[in-house]
């Protein structure tokens, strides 16, 4: 909407123009190039690239793993955010700062670190190996890496929302006779649900695109622990740009559909609330 009142940033025309330019240069144009490249590929070649058994297995791992990692982050991210938002304990600030570490590390470093700990002769891996759980070079390792990478998103979106839920709300519910579980289910969760969903979406998107840390711990066995981004790199190394572009297009389309669905769900939820209120 055009706004005649003076604002901090220069006029609407200029800021919208800049927004469009920036999005185009950084997001839309490269993606369009990718789509064009994929579209100019002969159909049989395209199908070979995107529907090969190896590609199908990689989709399953990439999407399934990312979804699972996002679910894990949803639960544990909430618990971490709750602890940091609600309790005062020695070392809280330190813990709070540590949450952001996966943001800052080059992802390859995370991968190396995870492998060192979870490989068969690593600190934890050697003990897990004894009870028959193999983390490194299995799908479990892939999910672990994806969880690590997505965790800050889940925590950092829920934490401020939890801080905003007033203690008075819980006190009110308690005096009205509600037990703890009831208060949690009916008062706290609905209040922070939008934030939880956003956190989930971000964690999912991040896990899907993750490359650096996963390839170190996954072992990259075709059909077993090979993620789609790696398959794309393999195509590139074989100078098969069209195949890489085709796979990239599939990932792009699938991510777009999933993210759009979640966003629509959220919007629908909000709208339903408003409609009920009228």
């Amino acid at each position: 909407m055009r706004d005649s009142q003076p604002t901090v940033l220069p006029g609407f025309g200029l800021t919208l123009g800049f927004t469009t330019f920036f999005l185009s240069a950084v997001v839309l144009l490269p993606l369009a190039a990718l789509v064009l490249l994929a579209a100019s590929t002969p159909l049989h070649q395209l199908l070979d690239a995107v529907a090969s058994p190896r590609a199908l297995a990689s989709y399953r791992l990439s999407f399934g793993g990312a979804l699972l990692a996002a679910c894990i982050n949803l639960v544990f991210g909430f618990i971490i955010a709750w602890t940091l938002a609600r309790y005062e304990f020695p070392g809280r600030r330190l813990m709070d700062a540590m949450i952001d570490l996966p943001f800052a590390l080059p992802t390859a470093v995370s991968g190396i670190a995870l492998t060192a700990v979870f490989s068969q002769n690593g600190w934890l891996g050697s003990y897990l190996d004894m009870v028959g759980i193999h983390v490194a070079y299995t799908r479990l390792g892939v999910i672990l890496a994806m969880t690590l990478i997505g965790m800050p998103f889940a925590v950092r979106t829920v934490q401020p929302a939890l801080l905003e839920v007033q203690r008075d709300l819980e006190d009110a519910a308690e005096t009205l006779g509600a037990g703890r579980w009831y208060v949690f289910r009916r008062v706290i969760v609905p209040a922070v649900l939008p934030a939880i969903l956003t956190g989930f979406t971000l964690a999912f998107a991040r896990a899907l695109g993750e490359y650096g840390s996963v390839i170190f711990i996954s072992g990259n066995l075709p059909l077993k622990t090979e993620i789609t981004p790696l398959l794309i790199v393999i195509h590139l190394e074989e100078f098969d740009y069209r195949g890489a572009a085709a796979l990239g297009f599939v990932m792009l389309a699938a991510s777009f559909v999933i993210l759009l669905t979640i966003n629509l769900l959220q919007a629908w939820g909000r709208e339903r609330m408003v409609r009920r209120g009228q």
């Binding site: 308690e174 009205l176 509600a178 009831y182 609905p190 009920r276 209120g277």
Partner: protein, 593 residues
């Protein structure tokens, strides 16, 4: 009784925020807890609701002890300042929350909801969401929600704080009507005295975690017992008067306020409301009041129905002394005048006028003001900067005067004239403080505050008297001091080592008597402790146990300071307040002689 509170204490980091509060609230009563922010009133309300744990004390609702019952089973309704509505639920769902928790059937829920919406005049708003309502409407929903489960008690925590004046007025009326219609016992917490007056059947005034006074609004306003209540409930001029057998006097003039006074003249604090002050051209023009003094009008503020004036009283030896002089020593008298008074005699800033008092109320407090007594002016200066003294005098809204007495503690024969030191005498702690104190007592001083250098506000006040005749005076002084400190009061009784059984039971009776007298006569809740041994040693031991103590000790003879208590006073590290009252018998003898 709907609500019975018995000695509630709640501490945060060792500091009592609710300090030994006992209170009974009757069925269907509208009780208002009034106090400045941080006085502990909200914590007390949360404790009644079961949301704040207690360190000590018991709570009963309708005769049922609920001290250890959780908030969800107490059967109270609580309304918050910020409404605390569930924003993702509609008005209907908010109101039905408590019913849904109790698994009530949908049809019954709907019926109850409609009843409540009618009660708070919000029919037809069922499907709105809280953000779509105005602040006043949201608070009405909160009231309906708090009443849904038919609680025995309704608790309101500053419910009008976030609303503007017009809406506040309407909501006040609604709440009062709902309360009358349901006959539900209600406790409202506020810092706004006007709101308290408008709504309360009875008001309880809190400060520093203590419940200072309770009573009907008009009684508290006209006959406050404490200076805090006098100044917090409406404006008040505190005037230091001298009360003798002929009644209180200010300056040189009798006040014609006849009240049987003590035999010996002493300083008292008189409360004069601004509306009880008459302003006239000259003394002869005062129509309905007693002459107070002359002064200059500093400022006149028009506020609609009333006019507020501030008057600087002339400096004169016979001029009345205002207790609550501000920091720069300005002695300004507050007066309000109705329209007819303004028409009869118009005043403006700079005008010289005569001031009279129509009605004054003498506070029963034994502590009127402080007078520093030191051998030289530099010592007096040091004492005047003592943090505890500054704290006490500013909280008590009273003066610190200075008196240099070079003969302090000297072994000179007793002279007359020193006894006229007004109020509580303050001296510095030191090696010969016992001699100094005895000297002052011999010269007729009744209360002495002994302050170590840099004494801070104490956390615990120990009370002890060596003689039963000093009991009531010591309790009265203790109550006065404790009203202005966030400290716990502990009465320490000392019995001889291995006392005979008869003495032991007598000791317990003494403790109970002390407690009940403190509560009945001064509204002061005290803890009691029994110790064995020699009084001075036992007290010394108790004081050494932890820092942050103050000692209030009542004695019947000045000689006690010099012998049995000398060790206790030898350079104390804690503030000591000595209260001296002679034995009844001696007093009688003297009057007979």
């Amino acid at each position: 009784m709907s609500i019975t509170l018995d000695q509630l204490t709640k501490r945060y980091q060792g500091v009592p925020v609710v300090n030994d509060v006992s209170l009974e609230i009757g069925d269907g009563e509208f009780f208002v807890l009034l106090g400045p922010s941080g006085s502990g009133k909200s914590t007390l309300l949360r404790a009644i609701a079961g949301l704040a744990g207690l360190d000590h004390g018991r709570i009963a609702l309708h005769g049922r002890d609920v001290t250890h019952v959780s908030a969800r089973r107490r059967g109270v309704g609580l309304v918050f300042q910020n409404y605390a509505l569930f924003r993702h639920m509609t008005v209907a769902e908010n109101i039905e929350f408590a019913l849904r928790v109790r698994r009530m059937r949908a049809a019954e829920r709907r019926q109850r909801r409609q009843e409540l919406l009618r009660l708070v005049a919000l029919e037809g708003m069922d499907e709105r969401l809280p953000p779509q309502l105005s602040g006043g409407q949201q608070q009405r929903v909160a009231v309906a929600r708090a009443l849904a489960h038919k609680p025995e008690v309704l608790l309101l925590d500053e419910p009008f704080g976030a609303l503007d004046a017009k809406i506040r007025e309407g909501l006040r009326r609604t709440i009062r009507e709902v309360q009358r219609e349901l006959g539900i016992t209600t406790v409202l917490v506020t810092h706004d005295q006007e709101e308290a007056f408008a709504m309360a059947d009875r008001i309880g005034v809190m400060n520093f975690g203590r419940l200072l006074e309770t009573g009907r609004p008009q009684d508290l306003y006209t006959h406050p017992a404490t200076r805090f209540v006098a100044t917090f409930l409406g404006a008040a001029n505190l005037i230091l008067a001298r009360q003798g057998s002929d009644g209180p006097r200010w300056g040189a003039w009798p006040t014609a306020l006849h009240r049987p006074g003590p035999e010996r003249e002493r300083e008292v604090v008189a409360v004069v409301r601004p509306e009880e002050i008459e302003i006239a051209r000259s003394r002869e023009d005062l129509a309905s009041s007693v002459y107070l003094g002359r002064g200059v009008v500093e400022e006149v503020i028009f506020t609609g129905a009333l006019e507020r004036a501030r008057i600087r009283l002339d400096e004169a030896p016979d001029a009345p002394i205002l207790a609550h002089a501000s920091g720069d020593g300005a002695v300004l008298l507050e007066a309000t005048r109705a329209q007819f008074e303004q028409r009869a005699f118009a005043i403006s800033a700079g005008q010289s006028v005569t001031v009279g008092v129509r009605r004054a109320h003498v506070l029963p407090t034994p502590l009127s003001s402080f007078t520093i007594c030191a051998p030289n002016s530099s010592a007096a200066e040091r004492l005047a900067g003592n943090p505890l003294l500054l704290d006490l005098s500013s909280r008590m809204k009273t003066r610190i005067r200075r008196h240099v007495e070079p003969l302090l503690g000297a072994a000179t024969p007793i002279r007359d004239g020193v006894a006229s030191l007004p109020g509580t005498t303050v001296i510095a702690a030191g090696s010969n403080v016992a001699t100094d104190a005895k000297w002052l007592l011999d010269h007729g001083v009744e209360e002495i505050l002994i302050l170590p250098e840099q004494a801070a506000s104490p956390q615990r006040v120990l009370i002890h008297w060596t003689d039963e005749s000093a009991r009531s005076a010591t309790l009265a002084v203790s109550a006065s001091v404790l009203r202005h400190l966030a400290a716990e009061a502990i009465y320490v009784d000392v019995l001889p080592e291995q006392p005979p059984a008869a003495d032991r039971s007598f000791g317990i009776r003494a403790l109970l008597d002390a407690r009940s007298e403190a509560r009945a006569a001064h509204g002061l809740e005290i803890r009691t402790e029994m110790r064995f041994g020699v009084a001075a040693q036992a007290l010394q031991q108790r004081l050494d146990e932890s820092p942050g103590h103050m000692l209030i000790i009542g004695i019947a003879s000045p000689n006690q300071l010099a012998d049995e208590l000398a060790a206790l006073l030898a350079g104390p590290r804690w503030p000591v307040l000595v209260v001296h009252r002679e034995r009844e018998a001696t007093a009688h003898n003297r009057s007979a002689a």
